[in-house]
Amino acid sequence: MKIYKNVLRSVLLTGLIGAASSCNYTDLDINTDPNRPATGSLGLLLPVAENAAVSAFGAVNSNAMGFAGLWNSGDSYNLSNTSYQGTWNTAYQSLQTIEEMLKATEDGKNPRYRGIALVLKAYSVGHYVDMFGDMPYSEAWKGNATTPNKSPKFDKDADIYEDLLKLCDQAVVELAKPQPIAVINDYMGSGNATTWTRIARTVKLRLLLTSRKGRATGNADLKAAFDAGGFITTAAQNWTYLYSTQISPERNTHPWFITYTGTSDPTYINHQLMGEMILNKDPRLPFYFYRQTARILDQNNSTDRGTTPFGGSYLPLKDSFLDEYKKAFNITGAIPAADLTYIAGFFGRDRADVSGAPADGPLRAAPGAYPAGGVYSDRSVAAVALTGQAALNFGGNGQWPLINSWNTKYYQVEAILDGTGVTGDAKALFEAAMREQIAVVVAQGLKSDPSRAKAPATAEVDAYVAEWLKLYDGATTNQSRLNVVAKQIWFCSWGQGMDIWNLQRRTGYPIQSQFRQFSVGIQAPISKPPRQYALRLPYPQSEGALNPNASKFVTDVIFDRDAIFWDKVKTKWEF
């Protein structure tokens, strides 16, 4: 019996040891994520919020450049309700951080953070309203609110704009208040209230210019903003986003620079843009584009023929272009072979060329030093295909010009010429804008490709500017002068897609016209596009499926028929 008792005891003991050792297995309070914090401080949110503004600038930069005929991206307007789902989704996701900042600064203890967040919101949301029009705003970003709203209503585009303008004013007020703890991680403004106040006024100016035709007090408010001043006026004040040459631990090069790695083909650049810059002897030409080839495709060879751009648009074999070229460069007789092989490097496409892409990646002209931070490519630089050329894959420290001094000058020129009541010397501003933009382009080239890039001779720039001022003077009305300026803005918009798309929708300029030297228009689509000029972006199907307030916008709003509230022109292409 004693044995039995002992055995029983020992079994119970073993059981108890087991139970005791597994005791902490019943502690269930272990569901707090050890990998992630429950809150994010303002200093950590701020750089994400600033990235949101850059992301608003870049969201449809490529397609907007395509709409305006600068390159082969969305230039046939074949847009659908799924084309911009990613744009929309990324927008709301990235803007969430700005909202987090605004929530976290409601207590008034961090006015400068708040001011910055207000500026970033006004700038970013302004871009998205210019793309989409009506959109969730007053009820947006409330999925995690105390009373969550997971199907926000849509606000009218005009109403959102009114609020954005107020945000700019509030930002100025907040930025004037003392900030007890220094602002950190502010890569755009180094925590400087003066810088941000200037950006706030510039953003307001941009919003007022864009919306001027859609607001009852549009012209008066715009004039008041110009009169008040305090916006970006000098190159030193330019609001620019910078990339570096860093490739690891994370690639920090300009997105367009990716073609230099040989892993990605460049987007076809518009023949008219490149061709007219050749004909116009534009000093920016070797900074804008990089030539990969000097070979003229042999039309007797089937592979070459299959690789040649569509329908006689290939520049070295395009008679109308070569005739202009002869005139521009005073060539009598045959064009020298060196000139033709130089021209062969400007391998791109005409507007709305939808033919399938052959294996021509190593032939296509690529983005150059501005804004991509790539390689300078004038006549003296041999055309070398980028693929496999590690020696050319060194840069990438390009930029995005968010809002530069030339932009505010062009705003003023437009405001003056379009009769808003804003005053000033339009021609002088036009000249200054051109020179400031060229200076930024040249500086970028000298920075990213110091061994090759050469600053253009002053005479060269002067001659170019003089030709445009001559065109300006030759125009007889303010409207035709504005068209001349608009065409120059078109050349300046290499890398500023939203600005040229907005300009074209706001003014209808530059008009449709021929591809030739000193043309003041943009050429017609080369093939009949399936849809008309994009007046806005189609709403995303996904929002329509998930938000009951969105479905009618997805079905009712037609992107090539229904304009944004400030668009009174409703540009159309003619075929």
Partner: protein, 1096 residues
Amino acid sequence: MRNLLVSMLFVCSLCATAWAQERTITGRVVAAEDGSLMPGVSVVVKGTTRGSNTNADGTYSISVPATGAKLVFSFVGSASQEFEVGNRSSIDVKLANDSKQLGEVIVTAVGIQRDKKALAYAVSNVKGDLLQQRSEPDPLRALSGKVPGVNITSGNGAPGSGTRITIRGNNSFTGNNQPLFVVDGIPFDNSVNSTGGYNTNTVTTNRAYDIDPNNIENMTVLKGAAASALYGSRAANGVIVITTKSGSKSARKGLEINFNSSYSVENVSTVPDYQNTYTQGSNQTYNGGFIGNWGTVFPAEVDRVNAALGFDRYSKVIDPDFPEGTIPHPLVDRTVAYGAARYQTAFPELLQANGRGIAVPLVPHDIIGGFFRQGSVFENGIQINSTGDKTSLNASVSRTKNVGIIPSSFTDRTTLSFGGNATLNNKVNVAGSVAYTNTNQQSPQSGAGYYADYGGLASAGSIYGRLFYLPRNFNLSEYPFENPVDGSNVFYRALDNPYWTAKNNLYNSGVNRVYGNMTLNYDPTSWLNLTVRGGLNTYSETRKNVLRPGGSFQPLGSVQRQDLTRTEIDFTFLATASHEFSERFSAKLLVGFNPNQRNYSEAGIAGAPVIDPNVLTIGGTLNQNAYDFSSQRRLYGIFSELTLDYNKFLYLTASVRNDHSSTLPAANNSYYYPSVAASFVFSDVLNLPKNIINFGKLRANYATVGKDADPYQVNTAYNLSRTFYNGSAISTASLPSQLNNVGLKPEFTSEVELGTELQFFNNRIGVDLAYFDRTSTDLIVTRELPRSSGFAREVTNAGKISNKGVELGLTLVPLRMANGLTWTSFFAYTRIRSKVEDAGPGGEIFLGGTGLSALGTIFRNGLPYGQILGSVNSRDDKGNLLINPNTGLPIPAASSQIIGDPNNKFTLGWTNTVSFKNFNLSVLMDYKAGGSIFSTTAASLLLRGQLKNSEDREGLRVIPGVLGDPATYKPLLDEAGNTIKNTIGMSAFQYHFTDGYGAYGADEVNVYDATVVRLREVSLGYSVPKAFLQKYGKVFGSLRLSVSGRNLWFYAPNMLPGLNFDPETLSNFADSNIQGFDLGAAPSTRRFGVNLNASF
């Protein structure tokens, strides 16, 4: 502890007590079943502690008192026998299997062994030998077609690639639908642990691959909720209970050494029927830079095609500067810009003096056949068993190596295990086992090919990027693939050459896994049993993925290393009380407690650029990025089960489990799972003619099981990261795109199951039929949110899925002849109808799966589980295609629609076993009826003009349909108001290319019916007769030789003819619920093998 030692010492001291010897009894013990010798049988003088064991030849010798002695012969698993010694001096004994185990004993939930006869739910038991020596190293694939209700899909033919298993359909939208694996009583993690997307790696295995089929003694599939109810919140998808040979307590006689060895060769199962008439190019013109094969006619075919046309459309001269029948070398010639820019200096021998490439013949090549090689599977194993009266030991070692058909691909797996059990003299039973497995896998970059071409996701330079549809004339196997100067990639386009990738860019995984358990068992009284079981199952995996510099995808190279560790600790405390109230009525009550903890940690480091291409290590990179994270979850359950048995023909079982999970909010983390089940063996009650019906049972049950959440889905926390501005790193925090849920609840699955088991005509016909109806509710889903809410997804309880089904296991014995010829036929039939009853607010959940926003898996109210959503062409009311009058091509409709249902209508596995004398033939065929597949292989090959069936391309084609308005999606009408038939002709190229009928057109044209019949497994074995062995090979106890084949033939009648595509393929990782897509991965394989099994 001291008490235990004291008591053990005390017991031992008793053993040592001396006894007077009076006389000696000797004898021999043999097995009643086959007369084999039984070493290790315990022989005890009853009522004393005097004992002896039989030795290796089954003989024993024992001293007994002069009179009145009784000898007790006992052996684990055999029925004890008692003999009066009387005045005999020799007693020979035949021991038979324990009569209590005469019925089939099944290991059920929490390790409870039960007589199959008593079970009130469907359970399938698969003996290890059905999984072994079948030329199949994957334990799950070896199970395919053998169990009704179980659906198994092989991922692809790369060694170690994943296998998906589901039981009774899918119960969760976004969660895991795979069953719980329990090996030797402890949960065995079967995670995939995908650390990249399917776009970058299609070979990531599921960790059940760590189980060597050769080490499986027995596998029990607990299908329904009632069967697995005691596992509570881990039982929603069924449970697979595996007993390994080393963890087995079942007895084997004496000492036995078992050796098995298998060698199989494997080859690609099928290749498409390629066309060899047209070259690379487009519009019937050769172009050396293209991928498609819409070019000119191969010179060898020119005369034939021209003759058929009646005019000289094609010329044998391709390039005016090159001889007839030749083209300039596509790697260096100026006409192919990519190669010309890169390789002219690297390959001067390919250049002519004039700067053009050398002439190469324009002929088709066997690209696929040249790329894939013959693979092999080599398996070896030794098991050693030793069993005595109170102890048994099992040890095994095995090694399997599978060399794949893809260059550089292999897996190997080495398992060492050791187990045993002992009944101590104090009646405590101790059992335990420990196993170690090392699994290694290697593969070249193997992302799904689809993503490289259409899906918009980078594929890490996958070998499948273009392999199946390279230009017919591209001499892949003979053109150089690496630069002789620096070893960098060489190809005619900006893609990584498959050979270069296979040589340099390798993914490796190494897993070390240890699992073990220990069980203490004690009966304090005759009616009470106490059991404590504890165990651990842990593995760590190191993954390394290297991309050599010089490639196209990653020109600077990169090295990535990830370390994953998963550890599960599980205890079960069980008390079982039994009581017989009367002869007829008995009851058993079980109470248990089951705490469980699971930890996961993952750390990774990625380095780039690579400093020296010859050293692909993290240390050999310029910069590194690192990350790590970990998670922990706990679950404890208290459960009880009451079983009532009335006269061995009526059984009633009721159970309840109360689970507490750490992953749910405190308010919702305790919940109950009840179950009730009854079975009635009517053949024991009703007076049925025994020669017609031998056995009949009815079963009915109802149970609820469930599932808790994954860790950390309750509170929404911030992501820490960094951003770079102008080359400077800046710290950041931001909200994640997923909103978590503080009110999360567990998922529940309730099921009603009715079934019957019947045996007719002396067991010549056996039926095991089950009908089930299960409903899963409160599903934890990551629901899409409108992004304007600031979030992309939220975790929530939403939705309801129902699965109704029939499972039938039908055994027929058409032949059982006196001469020993037996033919047994077993049918495993499964038919499941799933329905999404409620996909939550919005009525649908789009899971995606292809990288495109309009093509992927969707759950939509009222439809079966996991439909294929994709773009369609618009049609008129009568279903005619609308054709764009400007192009002659279909008009894509405005929005995506359901274009296919990937669920099988039914599946049928048919195993035929014929045994005669010493021969045994087993043939498994299976049939998967219905189910759609979106095939990107079909799309790509059509699009690229690769297939034999697109060889007829001289004439114009007309897409059948009526003209329509692309703006309004309405048919155009003629003056009479009738639709207008499309008569616009187009070339074969236009027909298949842009917006045509291939991958660039509407998705719907790439959907096929995946019905497939397959000869899955054949095994022909010969056992060398015992008599022969005794004469010529005394060392052998048994010797068996067999040949086997796997996936020998399949026929998919409704796939694209000539594609020869095996539609059994996974669309994503084994734990993903995306199904019904072929996204382009390794093709399936076919194996032939020889096997040897010998015991000593």
